[in-house]
């Protein structure tokens, strides 16, 4: 029989599909990306063209074509992933959200404006708060459903993923956990992020196997605190530096080019301002890199498969620097390659360990939503 019940990812047994002789360089990865940007370019450029001439309507089909390519060039052990979603699913998802959500919000905004102008600010504000809360709730549901849709349309060896849960309860969890996270002066946000990740994936499955996430938030707290306190630290350092320079100029007594010196100080402050945001962003990246390593590292599929994610802050930094460089150098056109870069990054650094028996992996019987990621799309969280 063709059955392949081997270990992979270097966790006992010979890695199937990989090169067993690859011992010195570490075990072969279970996930390999085999695409090239030259193959991707014709897809990206024709997508851009068609999206422009259709005033954006083609973007749903564009996304589908992109994913078909990216998935088909991503190998898991011995077989490539396959994206089986359709453009019209994403389009209908978008239409549904536009009708069920977009139009009511538009009307409500009109009503709120009218209430404000007519002198009922209290009622207007109450409506506004209700609207914001609804959007908050739906953005949680959207995140969940997008993941469910993506798993449901991702096939490997003919098997797909999915979830039995439509995600409406997850939306409530999302609300209260983030509310607690922010109310505790933002200090519990990592807890909210980690526990929501676990909750989300805990409802997902692939074939008949359930995913589970057991990550604990404490390993990411140190880095989160650094990010949290970074503005304060940076401000103190900045003020000390400016103060020192200003004192220096003041103490230097009378000299001809004093104005020049003050001008230079202004320049320094401007540079400091930019540096502040760069360093703060870097602190977040430092946290986020760890966060993803932790949450993915504690994920399992069934009893026998576990996952890992090895991208360090430096890897993330290089990815983002590359993104920015690409977009700047190409005057914005490089933007169409970002999805390719991000997917490649993800597949390159994600890892799986364990044993899988293809004969025993059965098709998922989770319900399949007929529409795509409309909600997520509406809230602009479509980026992978």
């Amino acid at each position: 029989m063709d059955g392949m019940a081997g270990g992979f990812g270097g966790d006992g047994g010979a890695p199937s599909g990989g090169d067993p002789a690859n011992a010195d360089g570490g075990p072969a990865s279970a996930f390999v990306f085999e695409g090239t940007w030259r193959e991707f370019a014709p897809i990206a450029f024709t997508n851009l063209l068609l999206t422009i001439v259709t005033l954006g309507i083609y973007r749903f089909w564009a996304t589908t074509r992109e994913r078909q390519y990216l998935w088909s060039r991503s190998r898991f052990i011995d077989e490539h992933l396959e994206w089986t979603g359709l453009g019209k699913e994403l389009f209908f998802g978008f239409l549904m959200v536009a009708v069920l959500f977009g139009i009511p919000v538009l009307v409500l905004q009109f009503v709120v404006e009218a209430l404000m102008i007519q002198g009922y600010p209290g009622l207007g504000a109450a409506l506004m708060v209700a609207m914001v809360l609804t959007i908050f709730y739906l953005s949680g549901v959207a995140r969940y459903r997008a993941l469910r849709y993506r798993l449901g349309r991702t096939h490997w060896r003919g098997i797909r993923g999915g979830s039995y849960d439509p995600g409406f309860r997850y939306g409530l969890s999302y609300m209260w956990k983030y509310a607690v996270g922010y109310l505790a002066m933002g200090l519990m946000v990592p807890w909210a992020m980690v526990s929501l990740w676990n909750e989300r994936w805990g409802h997902m499955s692939f074939g008949q196997l359930r995913f589970s996430g057991q990550a604990d938030f404490s390993p990411v707290m140190k880095r989160y605190l650094l990010f949290y306190l970074a503005p304060l630290i940076l401000l103190i350092v900045g003020f000390l530096a400016i103060g020192a320079v200003a004192l220096g100029i003041g103490a230097a007594g009378e000299f001809d080019r004093k104005e020049l010196a003050w001008g230079a100080l202004g320049g320094l402050i401007a540079i400091g301002f930019v540096a502040f945001y760069l360093l703060w962003g870097l602190a977040y990246l430092f946290f986020y890199a760890k966060y993803l390593r932790v949450v993915i590292g504690e994920m399992r599929l069934g009893d026998d498969i576990s996952f890992g994610f090895s991208a360090t802050t430096k890897d993330w930094f290089r990815l983002i620097l590359g993104d920015v460089g690409l977009v700047l150098v190409t005057l914005g056109v490089g933007w169409i390659f970002l999805s390719y870069r991000h997917w490649k990054f993800f597949i390159t650094y994600v890892e799986a360990y364990g044993v899988i028996d293809p004969d025993a992996l059965m098709q998922s019987d989770t319900p399949m939503a007929k529409h795509g990621e409309g909600l997520l799309d509406a809230f602009d969280m479509g980026a992978i």
Binding site: A114, I117, G119, P358, L361
Partner: protein, 368 residues
């Protein structure tokens, strides 16, 4: 799944020997890979597994997925997990019956990319043009009474911020009647808002902010501003702008919001400018007819230009008032030498407008 039937049978050599092609597939039920051969048999594709298991797939159920260097990949319409890869050269009779390749989507594939792109571009251009120009025709067709009712429903008395006084109300009426004697339905109000601005609102209403009234140094200046706003009302600019905005937001709803609002802004600005010109022309005509000097308006627009900031957000959906210096010059040019201009209002009436909001004890402050 019903159309895939699995039958364990012995391969019977028939008199008709179809050419076979090597194949591997997943059945969409388990992750087990099947290998064997595929061949055409009437209107079905026969898959024969190496162990003899045979599967018949109706050709019309096959769906093209992608072309790989080693051969085409196919799926089934009602079983997305099913994957069939044909490896090597495909016999011509089979190749003919396989579903056509799809790359961009059905319609585009049928037309070819260049033609389809040109067609789409044409349709988009027509749609954009329609959305931008149709409101100019449709706007005036919408009954004034509808617009008025809708405007009143939304705006009402603006949260009791409209000022009234014993002498101010008749003075304001007199000024409006002088400028637009045929259309007494146009309502002109002064609102207790400390901002140098005036707006034309849905429902044929003109609201002058008190900040502007205080800024005006003569009744002629005020008359110019009010004439301009009445011009927006008479030309149905507010309705046109509302319709255009509605059409654009639907048409560009598919685009990423940043790009969309960029196009949106560019597309509507040119129309705003032409609307401003029309309102100005109307104002000059009416001022001349009412024997009011346009120099007041010119002087005022000059000051407004210097002090005018961005209006409040909710004013964005009504006609806005950029004040280019060109407008000021046009008002200056409209002044006729030797014309017998008379003041738009007496000093006393103008004074009543200036103190209108102070005297109204019920009126409320407007907060944004």
């Amino acid at each position: 799944m019903a159309k895939v039937c699995w039958t364990r049978s012995i391969w019977v050599r028939s008199s008709f020997v179809a050419e076979m092609v090597e194949a591997e597939w997943y059945d969409g039920l388990t992750a087990r890979k099947r290998t064997g051969h595929a061949s055409l048999s009437g209107s079905v594709l026969l898959l024969r597994e190496d162990d003899g298991t045979q599967t018949a797939l109706p050709l019309q159920d096959l769906r093209f997925v992608e072309r790989r260097p080693e051969g085409p990949v196919l799926s089934l319409n009602d079983n997305r997990g099913f994957r069939l890869r044909l490896l090597g050269t495909i016999p011509p009779d089979l190749a003919e019956r396989l579903p056509g390749e799809s790359r961009y989507g059905h319609w585009i594939d049928r037309l070819g990319l260049p033609k389809a792109a040109a067609l789409f571009a044409g349709i988009s251009a027509v749609a954009l043009a329609a959305v931008l120009t149709l409101p100019n025709w449709l706007g005036p067709l919408i009954p004034q009474s509808w617009e008025r009712r809708a405007g009143d429903a939304v705006i009402g008395d603006m949260g009791n911020t409209l000022c009234h006084s014993e002498f101010g109300d008749p003075a304001l009426k007199q000024l409006a009647a002088a400028i637009d004697p045929e259309r007494p339905v146009t309502r002109v109000d002064i609102a207790n808002i400390d901002m140098v601005n005036a707006v034309a609102l849905p429902g044929g209403r003109v609201v002058v902010f008190d900040g502007l009234v205080q800024e005006a140094e003569s009744a002629d200046e005020l008359a110019g501003v009010i004439a301009h706003e009445i011009g927006h009302v008479r030309e149905r600019h507010v309705m046109q702008a509302l319709l255009r905005q509605f059409g654009l937001s639907i048409l560009l709803g598919g685009i990423n919001s940043d790009v969309g609002s960029g196009i949106f802004g560019i597309a509507s600005t040119s129309y705003t400018r032409s609307a401003e010109r029309e309102a100005d022309e109307y104002a000059r005509e009416r001022l001349a007819a009412a024997d009011i000097s346009p120099l007041g308006a010119a002087a005022f627009f000059e000051r407004l230009k210097k002090e005018h900031g961005d209006g409040p957000d909710w004013a964005a959906w009504v006609a806005s008032h950029p004040v280019p210096s060109e407008r000021q010059k046009q008002f200056e040019r409209a002044a006729q030498k030797g014309a017998d201009y008379r003041p738009a209002l007496s000093e006393q009436d103008f004074g009543a407008l200036k103190t209108m909001c102070d005297e109204d004890e019920d009126v409320e402050e407007f907060y944004f």
